[in-house]
């Protein structure tokens, strides 16, 4: 069963992250690298990506002739995806355990950031939606 683990934050969280000390950032990145390696070694790793910042995000809609209309104005409350992992595991509980580890990545002062991680089953096909 494939699950996606999503780490999200509001604009203020991203701004807060930008003010972390260099040592704190390095500890966080080291954790993420070790975490990826551990997922690969245990055979559950599918993919992971980090995304660019909210300032570079655009919202796109189709105009009358299908031309893209872009908008970059988001409410302060908007949750942005910071990055994700896709894993292939045996059970939801295993996915939650992996998510809990990601949640414990060190933050300022080396303390676990305790970030909430959204865990969602990935669709294997549209049949999963009952269509």
């Amino acid at each position: 069963m494939k699950y996606i683990l999503m780490m999200t934050g509001k604009k203020s969280d991203f701004e807060g992250y930008a003010s972390w000390s260099k040592a704190d950032l390095q500890a966080n990145v080291s954790f993420m690298r070790a975490f990826s390696k551990e997922l690969k070694d245990s055979g559950v790793f599918v993919s992971t990506e980090g995304l660019g910042w909210p300032s570079e995000a655009k919202l796109v809609r189709a105009g009358k002739n299908g031309e893209p209309i872009t908008d970059g104005v988001f409410p302060e409350s908007k949750e942005f995806l910071a990055g994700y992992w896709i894993i292939d595991v045996e059970s939801p509980d295993q996915a939650y355990e992996v998510a809990a580890r990601a949640s414990q990545a060190p933050g300022p002062g080396g303390k676990p950031a305790n970030m909430p991680i959204e865990v969602r089953p990935v669709l294997s096909g549209h049949a999963d939606l009952g269509l």
Partner: protein
């Protein structure tokens, strides 16, 4: 340059989708399949994935000992990711054009859904797909 196109909606949007007629769903899927085919042919396709509904979503935090604490209660306003496309394109304008096509996919009665698609560039230094 790799971009991710994110299609999201609050719970009400997901619930209304389940009320679409079979014909409307088929027309919508046909449009998405046609976009998929074009992206594959142009060599811009990287990945796409749909996710299951909000009822199966959990938010997890690690407790002190790394014990996962799950929570499935979300505010009505919470935006859920429905699915995404990852494309590898020459420039941002091309990513917006593809997002525009997705937004123009037909909804109820064959009218474009006009859903907003969030377009985000990958942080290349963290790129780690296999």
């Amino acid at each position: 340059m790799k971009y991710i196109l994110l299609m999201s909606s609050a719970r009400t949007g997901v619930e209304s989708y389940h009320a679409w007629s079979k014909q409307d769903i088929e027309a919508h899927m046909a449009a998405l399949q046609s976009i998929h085919k074009d992206l594959t042919a142009s060599g811009e396709f990287v990945a796409t994935q749909g996710l299951t509904g909000p009822s199966e979503a959990k938010v997890v935090r690690g407790e002190k000992n790394g014990v996962p604490v799950t929570d499935g209660i979300f505010p009505e306003s919470k935006e859920f990711l429905l699915g995404y496309w990852i494309v590898d394109v020459a420039n941002a304008g091309r990513a917006y054009a593809i997002a525009g096509r997705i937004s123009a996919a037909p909804g109820p009665g064959g009218k474009p859904t006009n859903m907003p698609i969030e377009v985000r560039q990958f942080a290349s230094h963290e790129s780690n797909s296999e």
